[in-house]
């Protein structure tokens, strides 16, 4: 096991601010704090080589968790270890074995060519020259850095910069890499390149990844396991398949009819007509209560079907529902 988080908790303390001139003066002496529970009692374990999606809505506490695991923040309670090191007690020791990519914020030097940031990182991490050259070559090939490696970072496109940031985070061969929204703002092609890189390095180098993102395609394509948090608490920890199985029992059937479907009714248990538009009817049905063929037979009794498609539930829809209405049975099957 490479990461162990136990009852990790972070409470932010901020001075309560008053407005106006008098308020500003009062602020100087005020000892009133607002407390905010950003992360509450979160525990999980990760094995080396895992690629875990850490997801949750805005303000759920994802970045805060990552900041505790990387040693940036000191938890208010609970603890964690990353490969045996307590991050905030031994920041430098922890730093040697982790890599971090913050999608919102580059670690590259704005005014300097990309390669110069790499050279400085080589010195900062004390990477032996031969290893550095090897890794640089490998990442240059994987990420196609060649065409812009001598360009000042401020002139790079977001996608190029992000590729540079990935290489920068991994030159020192970290065992664990934390990614906080690494695909934010990227186009489809750039996203794909980043995903490919993550999957590749996970496979060939055994790098452990913790991935935070709002793009569930990232998660669906890369991760077997997801951890969902909301309002600072863990809601789910398990495989994507299991969550689809358990919470995605619904399928959507879309049928094109030969006639207008305004007055078509479906009288089967576990079905809901979601929409009727012209000749197209969309029906949501509960897989455990009604089979697709039964539904089609029922429909074709009243009208002729031109075309039928059945859609799998999208992870996105499931997650949206969990964000909105929570997730009742927390325990059963929740932990791996």
């Amino acid at each position: 096991m490479i990461i162990r988080a136990e009852h990790l908790t972070k409470q932010f303390k901020s001075l309560r601010r008053k407005d106006g001139v008098v308020g500003t003066l009062a602020n100087l002496f005020s000892r009133e704090y607002d407390l905010k529970d950003a992360v509450k009692d979160v525990s999980f374990e990760l094995e080396a080589g895992e690629l875990v999606g850490y997801i949750g809505p805005n303000g759920a506490g994802k970045s805060t968790t990552i900041k505790m695991l990387t040693g940036i923040l000191v938890p208010s309670a609970g603890s964690c270890t990353v490969d045996g090191v307590v991050p905030w007690l031994d920041r430098k020791g922890n730093a040697r074995q982790i890599g971090v990519v913050f999608g919102q914020r580059t670690q590259l030097y704005w005014d300097l060519p990309l390669i110069e940031s790499f050279r400085l990182l080589r010195a900062i991490y004390g990477i032996p020259h031969d290893r550095y050259e090897q890794n640089l070559k490998a990442f240059t090939d994987l990420l196609d850095l060649d065409e812009f490696i001598r360009t000042p970072v401020r002139q790079l496109s977001l996608g190029q910069r992000m590729r540079g940031d990935f290489a920068a985070a991994m030159l020192h061969e970290p065992k664990v890499v934390f990614l906080d929204e690494p695909t934010i703002g990227l186009d489809v092609v750039a996203k794909e390149a980043i995903r490919e890189f993550i999957a590749r390095t996970n496979r060939t180098r055994g790098t452990t990844y913790v991935l935070t993102t709002h793009d569930l395609n990232d998660v669906e394509k890369l991760c077997d396991r997801i951890i969902i948090i909301d309002h600072g608490s863990k809601l789910y920890d398990g495989s994507i398949d299991a969550i689809k199985e358990r919470y995605g029992g619904k399928r959507v059937l879309t049928a094109d009819l030969t006639v207008a479907c305004a007055d078509i009714e479906v009288r089967l248990p576990g079905t809901t007509v979601v929409s009727r538009e012209g000749h197209r009817i969309t029906i949501e049905f509960d897989r455990s209560r009604v089979r697709a063929d039964e539904l089609i037979v029922e429909l074709s009794r009243t009208c002729e079907l031109k075309d039928v498609t059945i859609a799998e539930p999208e992870l996105e829809a499931i997650i949206r529902q969990i964000y909105q209405s929570g997730l009742e049975p927390l325990t059963a099957g929740a932990t791996t």
């Binding site: 730093a95 971090v100 004390g126």
Partner: protein, 270 residues
């Protein structure tokens, strides 16, 4: 030690990048150089003008005051060359750039100070020349003891200056914006070190001597170097040799304060 070597490696790399950046922004560099010259020129001219009205302040001649300024300037600009980026801590904290320094295997304060593309020792070189001129004007006798005192003073001055900046910067772990305090301390240093401390009232003397000990950067050592016995009646002449001690105390104190602040670090929301 392996890690000392790594710090040295990183520092060399940073300076290489400073030079590279300088090459890329030549115009910017020359504007700064010009600004440095004009800034110190104006300060010196102001001293000169005041001293044409009062040719002597408490027994300090024009050239003595010029020397006082030059001595401060060398220490201060050495501080700028080494520790200038300490002043970046509040911005780095507020903009969230500081996070990055905590996830790299070198001391975060070192990383703040060694940010590439920021430091040019141009004003340090300018001030060494100015100091050379000032020393000649006051006919400073370069005995080994004097040379020792001058070098010790300059090094200590840079440390004192840097340590005061560090204390101010560290406050940003508690208070997000403190530009005002920074300005107060800066002008305290810039304006009140220009003239002999003996001409100020008690409050200023206490502040510069014992609160923010900028007087150890130039005034106390200068009383010894220039044999200002009249001033020595008000101040113990041994103070002229105390800069290293004060520097050591301030360095230790400010670093401790920094560590305490670091553990309070909360980062920013996004």
């Amino acid at each position: 030690m392996v890690s000392a070597a790594r710090y040295w490696d990183a520092y060399k790399e940073v300076w290489r990048l400073n030079v590279l950046t300088l090459m890329e922004y030549k115009a910017n560099f020359f504007i700064w150089l010009l600004f440095t010259l004009v800034y110190h020129g104006v300060a010196l001219a102001a001293i000169w003008v005041i001293l044409t009205k009062f040719p002597s302040l408490n027994g300090w001649q024009r050239t003595d005051v010029f020397f006082l300024y030059a001595l401060w300037m060398v220490g201060h600009t050495l501080n700028n060359s080494l520790f200038f980026m300490v002043g970046d801590v509040p911005d780095a904290v507020r903009e969230g750039r500081f996070d990055r320094m905590l996830v790299r295997p070198l001391d975060s304060l070192f990383q703040i100070m060694a940010q590439p593309g920021q430091n040019f020792p141009d004003d340090f070189f300018v001030s060494i020349i100015v100091f050379g001129i000032a020393a000649a004007l006051v006919h400073l006798q370069w005995t080994p003891l004097v040379a020792l005192l001058v070098v010790m003073t300059i090094l200590s001055a840079a440390v004192i200056d840097g340590a005061v900046q560090l204390v101010v910067a560290t406050l940003s772990f508690w208070v997000i914006r403190l530009d005002a305090l920074r300005w107060v301390v800066m002008s305290l240093e810039n304006d009140f070190t220009r003239f002999p401390l003996s001409m100020y009232n008690r409050a200023v003397r206490i502040i510069l001597g014992y609160v923010f000990p900028f007087a150890f950067m130039n005034y106390f050592p200068a009383t010894v170097l220039l044999h200002k016995t009249a001033d020595a009646a008000q101040f113990n002449p041994a103070l002229g040799w105390m800069a290293p001690l004060v520097a050591a105390i301030w360095a230790a104190g400010s670093l401790t304060f920094w560590r305490i602040g670091l553990n309070r670090y909360q980062g920013t929301g996004s």
